[in-house]
Amino acid sequence: MTPARTFPARRDGVRLLVVDPQAAALRSTHMADLPALLAPGDLLVVNDAATLPASLQGRDEDGHAVEARLLAHVADNRFRAVLLGAGDWRQRTEDRPPPPAIAPGQMLHFCGLSARVAARSQLSARMVDLEFDVCGAALWAALYREARPVQYSYVADALPLWAVQTVYAARPWAFEMPSAGRPLSWEILLAMRRRGVGWAAVTHAAGLSAVGDAEIDAALPLAERFEIPPATVDAVAATRRGGGRVIAVGTTVVRALEGAFECWGALRASAGETALRLGPGYRRRVVDGLLTGVHEPGESHFALLGAFAPPLLLAAAATQASREGYRTHEFGDAMLVVPGALGGLRAASPGTAGDWPAAREGTALHTVQFAQHRFAEPGQRAGRPRSQGTLRA
């Protein structure tokens, strides 16, 4: 499949591949049909994080070019970042030269902003904590003035900040656009509401999707912070009571909702950080379905679809998407994985979608597997807490 090289003229002007794991069926349609594919009583949960410009071009103390891509806000003026060598988004990240050797304590200078390398990650010497020389309003102003949106080489042109926002973006927590929600227009959202489909939000600090460093890329997504407001907890509970489906817009929403459930043993209004990783066999406790982009077999995003549908159905979906010229990545087409979306057996018996009923009951039957999926990481024993985030000064 080919990536979409730019944003569509109309936000919602993309195709939609519907995957129904209950009916074991696929249908190719259009994003405008989304409201009709959902039922009254369903709930769409979006990530309302706005996208921060998170790529800073600068130099180290010796004048070597370096790009910092921010990936997490640690505290006040401290951000976690990945450093890349000379060049910019026009090169593939894996083709970029490594950054100059930068020791903790050294300064990086970005046009009108400087930062001290406060710590370096054990995961990779390229992942550092940066302490900027200003804080508060002055830091936000400097970031919005000096930084550009993170983007990748398959996109044709430099992206303006407005091209990487959803229509409901609020606080700038995301370092890359929560792109599953990008095709949602208010035309579609209001049509859903008229149909009796509710909406709710979480805020999830979506990090980087790839950095071109094998160690870091294998560990993505890193722990990301989230916030779940009381209204969303209430909306999910009401949806459960009414027999509706909870549909996450993007994997960040799945991570926030399931991560919060994991923390508290129930969905609670909360703020936290989750290192949850999704994949085949993962037992969902909160989320029933997913609106996401189009992913190819082999991608990490494709693997996590395995938490929503059996592998054969997903393989058939990928084949159909490829045959019909679906486009991938953040400006591409979309995929909806919802049990019962194509009619049929919405309230029917277990069986068609494998682990489906256990996920809906919200019981603690699969605690062991659940923990393994949270912590499993290359080079680590399953079940042990990840060491990600441990930084040494």
């Binding site: 979006v46 309302d48 706005a50 921060l52 508060g136 309003a137 936000w140 102003a141 919005y144 003035r145 303006p160 900040l161 407005w162 926002q165 959803t166 229509v167 409901y168 973006a169 609020a170 606080r171 700038p172 208010w186 959202l189 909406w199 939000a201 209204a231």
Partner: protein, 243 residues
């Protein structure tokens, strides 16, 4: 009425009505972000609010600049959280003294429309979606009687405010039933720098105090019944001398 913890963004926050609105909202406990093009006046407005114990932040930006739209929205939400109140107050007369339409440069009309109509449209577009998602929020567009009366020499400004009012009516129609409301307020003639630019020989004693007008507007923001969605509200303040 308290507005404790609500997040408010006010454009044109350095002087006049915008500055007074910032002070009035902060005095009732709102977390206020002021936007203006130039730092000195803006910083002074922010300091004045903080001296009285209020919370205020400054964003230096030009609402006529498309690229500033999401920078304003993002910075504001980073500083005070998702916005509950948006006041599109910034506006320009164009070059003064005001001139007849036949003597007005095309570029000046475009600039007036960019600041007074397109700017509020863009900022609303960037901010109102998050209000809609949360099911509450208030947008206030500041207009003028020049929107409805054909005052000679007020062509660019008057046309821009008429457009802003109609835009507001359509916003309101589209937002009906969502919990987000928009109203347009005509603050009348106030003792502000803008008024002095337009009508230098006006007697200040006949002009309203922007602080008084701002209090009345904040009352309207707090009470959905007094300024229902889509309403055009004329606020007439007491003259300065009586304040």
């Amino acid at each position: 009425m308290t507005m404790h913890g609500t997040a408010a963004l006010i454009t044109g926050g350095s002087f006049g009505l915008g500055r007074a609105l910032g002070a009035a909202l902060a005095a009732r406990g709102a977390r206020v972000v002021l936007v203006a093009r130039h730092a000195p006046g803006l910083d002074e407005a922010v300091r004045a609010i903080r001296r009285r114990g209020g919370e205020a932040h400054a964003i230096v930006a030009d609402v006529a600049d498309k690229d500033a739209t999401y920078a304003i929205a993002g910075q504001a939400a980073a500083l005070v959280g998702p916005l509950d109140i948006l006041i599109n107050n910034a506006s320009t007369l164009g070059p003064v003294p005001l001139r007849l339409l036949l003597d007005t440069d095309c570029e000046d009309v475009e600039q007036v429309l960019a600041v007074n109509v397109v700017g509020p449209f863009r900022l609303s577009k960037a901010i109102v979606g998050s209000m809609l998602l949360r099911g509450h929020g208030v947008i206030v567009n500041v207009t003028s009687d020049a929107a409805t009366e054909p005052y000679e020499r007020w062509g660019a400004y008057g046309a821009s405010k008429a457009a802003l009012e109609q835009l507001g009516r359509i916003w309101a129609a589209e937002l009906e039933g969502t919990g987000v409301r928009l109203f347009t307020v005509d603050p009348g003639e106030m003792n502000t720098r803008m008024h002095a630019d337009a009508i230098p020989d006006a007697d200040p004693a006949t002009l309203a105090d922007p602080a008084y007008v701002a209090e009345r507007i904040v009352d309207l923001i707090g009470d959905a019944r007094s300024a229902p969605n889509g309403a055009r509200v004329a606020v007439r303040g007491r003259p300065e001398v009586a304040a």
